[in-house]
């Protein structure tokens, strides 16, 4: 296949899978070659790019990995923009009745009972880092730090709640919205953590003529509308 038939190679954080697939479908429906979407953890993707992967676009789940690629001098200058935002929510099993509004000093430890709080690894994974920041800002981090269940990623954290292994979990609003087995117990105030932003940028190695067009499509009103359907906020 020639480059034009193949569409640009897009490396995107795994949490964007559903929404970005829908966006790519919409783009293809306009008569463009369908982009090749590769979903993995942002860290794995960033490392591949730094190692010289011949990709066109990078959508990261957080800023630091985009920064790492930028620092390696691999971004096309002037193409980086923040595409999406998200919210952090507290979830519990769908069958529960608990309501808990995350606010300074809210009784999270008490609500856990003897259980653990599921979240993405707070030392490593973006969603976990945001969660740690939020709980610290609300002054409850100390109370739960010894009772965490740090998972590989947000989806795995949510699975722990879905299967009853943890009574509560902290995930993105987009994830909670898509699962029938959990319900949102409370929403974290946006001010309690650094803004959740998904940056996108064109890579220096990009050769595909459609790459910039697809990036612009994602950032357009039409593109953002698709992401909004999946619960993503504007940045």
């Amino acid at each position: 296949a020639t480059a034009a038939e193949r569409g640009p190679v897009v490396m995107a954080a795994a949490s964007l899978q559903e929404a970005l697939t829908a966006a790519a479908d919409a783009w293809a429906a306009k008569g463009h070659a369908r982009p090749l979407l590769s979903f993995a953890g942002s860290s794995a993707l960033a490392r591949q790019i730094v190692a010289g992967a011949p990709a066109d676009l990078f959508l990261s789940a957080d800023e630091p990995w985009m920064d790492a690629v930028a620092k390696a001098g691999l971004l096309r200058p002037g193409t980086r923009t923040t595409l999406l935002g998200n919210r952090l929510v507290l979830v519990g099993p769908a069958s529960g009745r608990l309501r808990l509004t995350p606010a300074p000093g809210f009784p999270l430890a008490h609500a856990l009972g003897g259980g653990r709080l599921a979240l993405a690894d707070p030392d490593a994974v973006p969603a976990g880092k945001y969660a740690k920041a939020a709980l610290t800002a609300l002054g409850v981090w100390r109370g739960v730090a010894g009772r965490l269940a740090p998972a590989e990623n947000v989806r795995a954290a949510m699975a722990l709640v879905e299967h009853g292994a943890a009574p509560l979990g902290i995930v993105y609003a987009t994830d909670a919205r898509a699962s029938k087995r959990v319900r949102v117990v409370g929403i974290f105030p946006a001010s309690s953590h650094p803004p959740i932003r998904y940056p996108v940028a064109l890579l220096k190695a990009s050769r595909h003529p459609d790459a910039m067009g697809f990036r612009n499509f994602l950032a357009s009103r039409e593109g953002r509308a698709i992401f909004a359907r999946y619960g993503f906020a504007a940045p």
Partner: protein, 231 residues
């Protein structure tokens, strides 16, 4: 040289790996024996089942473990009702995950050795008055020892490297389930964490090199090897 935290991680990895392999050993041997020596209906199915943890991505195995051993799972509920215990978020759960991932490798190694045992020697032992079990312990098992040792090395190495099933099943809790691979994963997620990754990876390598040395030393003490050296 190592920080106390790193020591803790190494100790935990050793505990998880050691317990996993030793606990798995009798079951693995029994399965290897069954598959090597007996023809029965469902044998192929059992063989496939044993290979399952090898074929499925580890995350899926971890997910299945969660379904079975989680608080809502059948085994998890049973464990809780009868023993008031759970494997969730415990090092014992990590050991279970490691054991299951190591099982296919251990079974295969021992099976190859058992298939190589000359059964006429067992017959000879029987004529000398050894019962079924005595012949097993004194003849069959020692002759299959190379496979058992290979199984121990493979199983331990696999346990030391186990990541996907562990983090999915018992998550990544410092001091409880954060073994070396999980610590390495955490380090890998952080931009610039490469130095830490390298350090921890070298620790893993050191551990398995140690296991290899021990096994090599044990192999040297088996009769088969002494024969080869012409002792």
């Amino acid at each position: 040289m190592l920080s106390p935290e790193e020591w803790g991680i190494v100790a935990l990895s050793l505990k998880v790996g050691g317990v996993a392999v030793l606990a798995c050993l009798p079951l693995a041997f029994a399965l290897a024996w069954l598959l090597a020596r007996h023809r029965f209906p469902g044998r192929l199915l059992l063989d496939a089942l044993v290979h399952l943890p090898l074929v499925l991505p580890p995350v899926v195995t971890g997910w299945l473990l969660l379904l079975a051993f989680g608080p809502l799972g059948p085994v998890g509920r049973w464990l809780n009702d009868w023993f008031g215990t759970t494997l969730m978020f415990r090092w014992t759960g990590a050991a279970l995950a490691a054991a299951i991932m190591a099982l296919p490798l251990m079974v295969r190694a021992m099976r190859l050795s058992i298939e190589g045992v000359d059964r006429r020697l067992e017959g000879a032992a029987r004529t000398l008055g050894a019962g079924h079990w005595h012949a097993f312990w004194t003849i069959s098992l020692p002759l299959a020892l190379p496979g058992v040792l290979a199984a121990l090395v493979l199983g331990f190495a696999r346990s030391i490297g186990e990541f996907g099933a562990t983090i999915t099943f018992v998550s990544n809790i410092p001091g409880e389930t954060r073994t070396l691979p999980l610590a390495i994963y955490s380090a890998l997620q952080v931009p610039g964490g490469e130095a830490m990754v390298t350090r921890l990876a070298l620790l893993s390598v050191a551990l398995s090199l140690g296991a290899l040395l021990v096994s090599e030393w044990l192999v040297r003490r088996t009769p088969a090897e002494r024969l080869r050296r012409g002792d």
